[in-house]
Assembly symmetry: C2
Homo-oligomer: 403 residues x 2
């Protein structure tokens, strides 16, 4: 039986890069860019006035001049109004292009305006200390042709704004992963049905689809009873059409747990079966050549949950960003905790943000891996190693966060 | 001029609860529930077998019996197969309902099967320690009628799974916020246009719309030149139709900055103008009776960004969850940092997750509030108070995170 680390390594090794698709800019948020974006102009593209006030020639200030008649007014968006008289000034607004003949901006807060012989005159209350004051100079941030965003960048609102600035109305991004979510089990009935006394409703598939949606993947749900014939016919089209299958149930030691054998019969190579962890030990993982990666998760809801967040989600992220660094979260155990079995344990925890910026993990009681409702009060799992068996408050462990 | 804390308090005080709408369960992830959900049955609804193995009557074990002939086999989803002979056992699978006449499950790992006189017999390798072993008892987690999810709960995949379990095919959730994103400024041209030398493309509106989309709000974008007549006609329908307007530009001291006066003329009550912060000081905030809340943000892109994440996003979250606790993030300054002006400073930072679960904030150089491209290398802003002016590595400050 392999360790959690080894299982994670083998899962991530099967990640495949996604092909590109072209989407309008507003729909690209959260997606991963598959083309580099370069600056089409300098950033800023002109000497940009950074404060409302007046633009003047500094040499007049250096020569002792303290009052400047206003020769013109220039709002943002107006073509620059050249200053022909170096002893005058252009009244000017933030965002405007610096007028030729000027090199310095004095903000309104440092000016007093007077009317002199019917002419508007600005008197300096605080003279500018040097030429270039209050100007955001052309190319100060980026030069035309500079790489702004390399391929592989995940697009947050900041990247969307930069792409808009260079006029990228559409972007080439990784297409969404397509996942088939397959539930098995004769005890499961549809949401709309009233279950018989010994039946329950399907819930894992809804959980997995919701989590996939949050991660930016597309999914379709399929249900099979524990019927080998139906699975033998139903699975091959899914293996061919989807990037991944996420199954829940049918991978343990029971008589209806024929999925591992059947998947191999259908050409899915087993990479491992069973991980040295609790809950979620019976996890089966395989890959079909030229077909889907198959996550066959145990069907107890907490087991499905742990394995989805420990294995499936990092795999999705790796497919989306093959060169991205997986996020490594850590939290501190808030209270002492004992766990006698020498097996990696995913401890359900409620998280608290402590005053110095770290996360405290409070262990939550749980009625076994079937206790779905206990997850309502949890935010994640603290991954405790097989050894030791006594864990101390304040010790740090990897965190698998789902909320 | 008011402080960041006071401005935040006044902004949050204008949050309004959102009316309900009914959506299919799979579309409800990320939304906020507006009805309480109760357990329709016990959790689990029956004594649920928790391991594959055999079900037997413990009193036979207590009497010294160590081998049990298999009287029946029961898979999950099959009606319970009563055990009539207390010296026999039912071979049984995880998820099945415990058969009448049995009270204990022994897992396969603790059994050895033999063929005796043509009958399948399970010999106990490890006798069960007590009655009730390996059974997830009916109502152990929740009882029928228990409140599972109160109104006001944000629906993560765990809540979606619980709602599926009780057959909630549709849910009443808060309808999305509707926001009009309004850009102003004669210097701005559309994405598809080639700007003239003194023009730039619209980018703030794309940033704001992307961030709104991530937060689950709907938005439409509108652009007005610095044309008072167009704004006087164009804004009233937006004030009537949307929950909020987010404007950028036109609120500073310049000659084209007539928005504050015009908004009041259009019936929007000013709650404050200017916050003691950098960047983003000229922020104007108001509310129209029976109409929209108006966030008029300064137009420099970094100022827009800071104010969106400090004010607009927490307001959205408060509207979605009026009784939710705002998330308080904190990070530690990674290096000493000086900032002489005695004004709250939103310091752009790159975040690093440190080994003990806390966030380290590395200050990033930025070319003023117009330097949009600098945000590509930042994950958020550390909010430094007006005093002192020297900040030490290791000190903790509130974090405004945008990535």
């Amino acid at each position: 039986m392999i360790s959690v680390d080894e299982a994670t390594r083998q899962v991530l090794a099967t990640a495949r890069a996604l092909p590109p698709e072209t989407v309008p800019l507003p729909l690209a948020v959260g997606r991963v860019l598959l083309e580099p974006l370069y600056a089409d102009r300098d950033f800023p593209p002109f000497h940009r006035v950074a404060m409302d006030g007046i633009a003047l020639a500094f040499k007049a200030v250096a020569a002792g001049q303290t009052a400047f008649p206003i020769a013109a007014t220039q709002l943002a968006g107006m073509p620059p109004q050249p200053l022909l008289d170096e002893h005058a000034a252009v009244e000017i607004m933030t965002g405007a292009a610096l007028p030729p003949g000027t090199d310095t901006v004095v903000r309104y807060e440092d000016l007093e305006f007077q009317e002199v012989n019917g002419r508007r005159v600005a008197a300096l209350l605080v003279p500018p200390p040097a030429a270039g004051h209050n100007i955001h100079h052309q190319a100060a941030d980026r030069q035309q042709g500079d790489l702004l965003l390399p391929a592989g960048t995940r697009l947050s609102p900041a990247e969307i704004a930069v792409a808009a600035t260079i006029g990228a109305a559409t972007l080439r991004v990784a297409r969404p992963l397509r996942v088939a979510v397959v539930s098995t089990g004769d005890e499961l009935v549809e949401l709309e049905q009233i279950p018989l006394a010994h039946q329950i409703r399907r819930s894992n598939a809804y959980m997995v689809q919701a989590a996939l949606q949050q991660a930016g993947a597309e999914s379709d749900a399929f249900h099979f009873n524990d019927d080998q014939q139906a699975l033998r016919q139903g699975l091959p089209p899914l293996l061919a059409a989807y990037d991944a299958l996420v199954l829940s149930g049918g991978v343990s030691k029971g008589q209806a747990d024929f999925l591992p054998a059947m998947l191999q019969e259908l050409g899915v190579t087993q990479l491992f079966h069973e991980v040295h962890q609790r809950p979620g030990k019976p996890f089966w993982f395989g890959e079909k050549a030229d077909g889907a990666v198959v996550f066959a998760l145990p069907g107890n809801p907490v087991s499905t949950f742990v394995n989805f967040y420990q294995y499936v989600l990092p795999w999705l992220r790796r497919c989306q960003q093959p060169h991205g660094q997986p996020q490594k979260l850590t939290a501190l155990l808030a209270t002492d905790f004992s766990f006698a079995p020498r097996i990696a344990y995913f401890l359900p925890v409620r998280l608290e943000t402590a005053p110095y910026g770290h996360l405290l993990a409070h262990p939550q009681a749980i009625g076994g891996s079937g206790d779905l409702a206990s997850l309502l009060h949890c935010d994640g799992f603290l991954r405790l190693p097989p050894e030791p068996t006594e864990f101390k408050a304040g010790d740090a462990f990897p965190l698998v966060r789902f909320r």
